[in-house]
Amino acid sequence: MPSSARAAELAVPARLQAELLIKIAGYERNMAARAGDAVRVLLIAKRGDASAARAAGQLRAELERDRRVGPLPVEVRVIEIKEGRELPPPGQQAIFYFMPGFQAGEVTALVAAIADRDLLTVGADVAYVEQGVVLAFDLAAGKPKLILHRGAARRHNVVIPAEVLRLMKVIE
């Protein structure tokens, strides 16, 4: 791990991101089938990116604060990876949450590695949506915003009700 690196902080505070994620997961039509007995969230940080690891720790702490998606408990795990093949195989995870710090090409490769998996993919950086992540959190005008990639949602079997989509910025 390098002694210094670019600071990749969470623009939207961890607590607010956690609350928003739990809400969106609750509205997502296929979450119940995907999750099984618990909503398992995998926080994915770039290996060697110190601040991404710290952001993951903050988000993990917030997600583990006795939060539930409806009746389902939330389980959180953090991994550090360098490339897409290190991502876990299809299994029990319902949400892949990419921490800040990945470069555009890296995100594209990660998204390609999980193409067409039944997953809600989430990015802490709004730029990730343009690389094919389903949902991202943004901070604009001092308020949190939700950005959704419609095509990516379709590919990952993510269905968000129209009323909720109305609260998001949707890109194609």
């Binding site: 791990m1 002694s3 210094s4 690196a5 670019r6 600071a7 902080e9 969470l10 623009a11 939207v12 505070p13 961890a14 607590r15 607010l16 609350e19 928003l20 809400k23 609750g26 509205y27 997502e28 039509r29 296929n30 979450m31 119940a32 089938a33 999750a35 909503v39 990116d49 110190a50 601040s51 690891a53 710290r54 720790g57 903050q58 993990r60 702490a61 917030e62 604060r65 006795d66 998606v69 409806g70 470069q103 555009a104 067409d116 709004v126 901070l139 604009a140 005008a141 001092g142 308020k143 949190p144 379709r154 590919r155 079997n157 269905v159 129209a162 009323e163 909720v164 109305r166 609260l167």
Partner: protein, 721 residues
């Protein structure tokens, strides 16, 4: 595979239940979360305003657009909680929660743009009108942090901290062209752009806007005030070089109500570097500055700024983030007052003079800040910072005899000073329902020595949607060079040994969320000490100043600044805001009341005892339909400053503002906005004109007039690049 996915999408959309509920049932919760304000000025960390260690509100760019807001003072008056501004005839001055210091020119409120301090050290001035010279289309949001904030920022943050945050390129994409006019008196043209780029494998962005504002008018009628004879010549006093001496001040002003403000703001980010540049000039006419001619086009003020701020953020292991910042500012102020009257000039200048005051400051500094997340989960975060600053201030005052052309310098000083500060802040979140924040900043300033500014805050969430906040904070203000060194041999003695002003404040508030509605109620008490004000010099001080050559030998009365008084302010804030009809209807209401008394149990002049605002906006929906917005602000009656009639008061003021904003059908890039504003009262609490003694003709104070009705049209075109 693709076929199966497509089928599942169709089926899912039709039959699959959500885990929690069908959309709509709890949508208000999500809407409320998306309306949660995120602030950074209170603790230098992005955090929810609910739990931030101060009462904070955020004014968004959407609100600025909806209500056709064009200046910071408009934004604060119509959209913020607890802050009020009033125009003193030269610039709007700011007050908060019952405290409003006349003619402080914003020196008790710290104004930041992207974290860069705008209050300059020569006079502490921060402008909240167009002279702030921040292109408004660039503003992402404005954070308004109420209460003492020296714990992280040092001097000036006595009433609070206002942080203007500019947009990122993602929110200011493409090119923007703006044309605007307050028909028929002003015009503004602006050009800006925002781009993302990649350089050396790193992401970057650039946002920039340049603009030019000019105004002329409106014509205003003052007086007539029959002043009488010039104390030097014994003849009727002259208020013009060209018109005959009548001893009468006033008439219709046509040449001194102008302004011209070019400005540029740019910010570039690349990798972990951020560079901001601000360059601006504000030149405006001054109908009255306490003396001089009436409606003379030479009477003006001019400010110039050049500001640079370079920042780098680095992660130090997984534990900490190091932020380094270098900044430097150049500031220049010039005031010209033409005076045809001998009594307004130096001895011997019987034909009149041109008074000229120049103040300049340069300051540069470096700040290092380390934020350590000891438990790697945000529950125990320590912030340690050190800030060092060098400042150079000089000033010169001269009277030029208009007959001989000879200028006599009456003041000339130059000072070099340094400041070193260390601050420490500890955030602690022992449970999910409790956020604690404690910190202190120690400033060592060459002017007054050391000063410690502590703050302790606790935010407790006893129920999911309710937060109780309790906090104690202190702040101080280093006296400006002007306050310490201003002197004039005809009437004013310098006071170089003034103590810093100090405020201590305690507040308790409760915020509750009911669906998309937020309710806020809070109470506060603040104690201000060592406030600087002007007083008459004593006989002994006069004699001493004359003996030292600081005053002319014939002077029999003079003024000086002193740490004169303290004051206490006790009051409360209420606020309600929210949205309905699928967020198409937005509304807000704030109210502040305070009882403020000086140590002598006197009310504070110009300070309103209550004020508030209300606003509603409705988006008719669809690209072809406009947004309608209506806002109002009200201020209680307040004592007139320097009144000649005892405790005369300016009446309650109600200001209304309506705006319609929409796109042209078939041309979504072109946005048009129409704004109309109206003020009920034509009087402010600031007196104007030379008369001081009541007489048969002078039966009530003449005060700075209000521009009661104004319309504005804005056309902007956003071109994608």
């Amino acid at each position: 595979m693709m076929r199966r996915t497509a089928m599942s999408l169709t089926l899912a959309a039709a039959f699959a239940p959500a885990v929690v509920a069908r959309a709509g049932e709890e949508l208000t919760d999500l809407e409320a979360l998306l309306d949660e304000s995120v602030v950074s000025a209170a603790s230098l960390t992005n955090e929810s305003a609910r739990t931030a260690p101060a009462t904070s509100t955020v004014i968004t760019s959407d609100e600025l657009r909806r209500f056709g807001i064009r200046t910071l003072d408009q934004a604060l008056n119509f959209l913020s909680l607890g802050v009020v501004t009033q125009d003193n005839g030269s610039a709007p001055e700011i007050g908060a929660r019952g405290v409003h210091i006349a003619y402080d020119y914003g020196a008790h409120m710290l104004l930041l743009v992207d974290g860069h301090v705008m209050n300059e050290p020569w006079d502490g001035t921060a402008y909240f009108c167009r002279s702030a010279a921040v292109p408004f289309e660039l503003i992402d949001h404005i954070e308004v942090v109420l209460g003492p904030g020296s714990v992280l920022y040092g001097s000036h943050a006595m009433l609070g901290v206002i942080n203007v945050v500019t947009k990122s390129a993602k929110d200011y994409a493409g090119a923007l062209v703006v044309a605007e006019s307050e028909l028929p008196i002003s015009g503004r043209a602006a050009l800006g752009f925002g781009v993302d780029f990649e350089l050396g494998g790193e992401r970057g962005e650039l946002t920039l806007q340049v603009e030019h504002f000019v105004s002329e008018g409106p014509e205003r009628t003052y007086g007539p005030q029959d002043y009488g004879a010039d104390a030097v010549t014994g003849q009727p006093k002259r208020f013009s070089f060209s018109r005959p001496a009548t001893g009468v001040w006033g008439g219709t002003a046509r040449q001194t109500l102008f302004a011209e403000i070019p400005a540029l703001y740019a910010r570039a980010r690349w990798a972990d570097w951020t560079l901001a540049l601000h360059a601006a000039e504000s030149r405006r006419g001054t109908p009255w500055v306490g003396g001089g001619n009436f409606d003379d086009p030479q009477a003006d003020e001019r400010d110039r700024w050049l500001q640079l701020d370079l920042k780098r953020e680095l992660a130090l292991g997984s534990l900490a983030t190091l932020t380094g910042r270098l900044y430097g500012d150049l500031y220049q102020y010039r005031q010209r007052v033409p005076a045809a009257a001998a009594e307004d000039c130096l001895e011997g200048q019987v034909g009149g003079c041109l008074y000229r005051l120049r103040g300049r400051s340069r300051w540069t500094g470096a700040e290092l800040r380390l934020a350590a997340d000891w438990t790697l989960d945000g529950r125990f975060v320590t912030l340690l910072g050190v800030d060092g600053r060098l400042r150079f201030v000089d000033s010169r005052e001269a009277y030029r005899d208009v007959t001989t052309g000879v200028a006599i310098e009456t003041q000339d000083y130059a000072i070099d000073e340094h400041l070193v500060a260390v601050y420490l802040e500890q955030q602690l979140h022992p449970w999910s329902s409790l956020a604690l924040n404690a910190g202190a900043r120690f400033d060592y300033d060459e002017v007054f020595g050391g000063h410690l500014s502590p703050r302790v805050a606790a935010a407790f969430t006893p129920v999911v949607d309710g937060t109780v906040k309790l906090l104690y904070a202190e702040a101080f203000r280093t006296l400006s060079a002007y306050e310490r060194f201003y002197a004039d041999p005809t009437w004013f003695i310098a006071s170089p040994n003034l103590e810093p002003e100090v405020v201590r404040s305690v507040e308790l508030s409760y915020e509750h969320r009911l669906g998309t509605v937020r309710l806020f109620a809070g109470g506060f008490f603040s104690h201000w000490s060592a406030l600087v004000a002007e007083r008459d010099a004593t006989e002994a001080e006069l004699a001493e100043a004359i003996a030292a050559g600081e005053l002319e030998s014939y002077v029999t009365a003079a003024g000086r600044y002193d740490n004169l008084t303290g004051l206490q302010s006790l009051g409360g804030n209420l606020a309600v805001h929210g949205s309905a009809l699928a967020r198409r209807l937005r509304y807000g209401l704030t109210f502040t009341a305070a009882r403020t008394r000086t140590d002598d149990d006197a009310a504070l002049v110009v300070a309103p005892s209550w004020f508030g605002n209300a606003r509603v906006a409705y988006d008719l929906g669809g690209p072809a339909w406009p947004t309608l917005a209506l806002a109002a602000r009200v201020i209680s009656s307040r004592l007139i400053d320097a009144s000649s009639f005892g405790e005369a008061r300016a009446p309650v003021q109600l200001e209304l503002r309506g705006a319609v904003t929409g796109e042209l059908p078939g041309l979504p890039e072109l946005q048009v906005r129409l704004v109309a504003s109206y003020a009920l009262s034509d009087r402010t609490p600031y007196t104007i004109g030379p008369l001081g003694e009541p007489s048969e003709e002078f039966t009530r104070d003449e005060t700075v007039p209000v521009d009661r009705f104004r319309t504005m049209v804005t056309v902007s075109y956003n071109l994608p690049l």
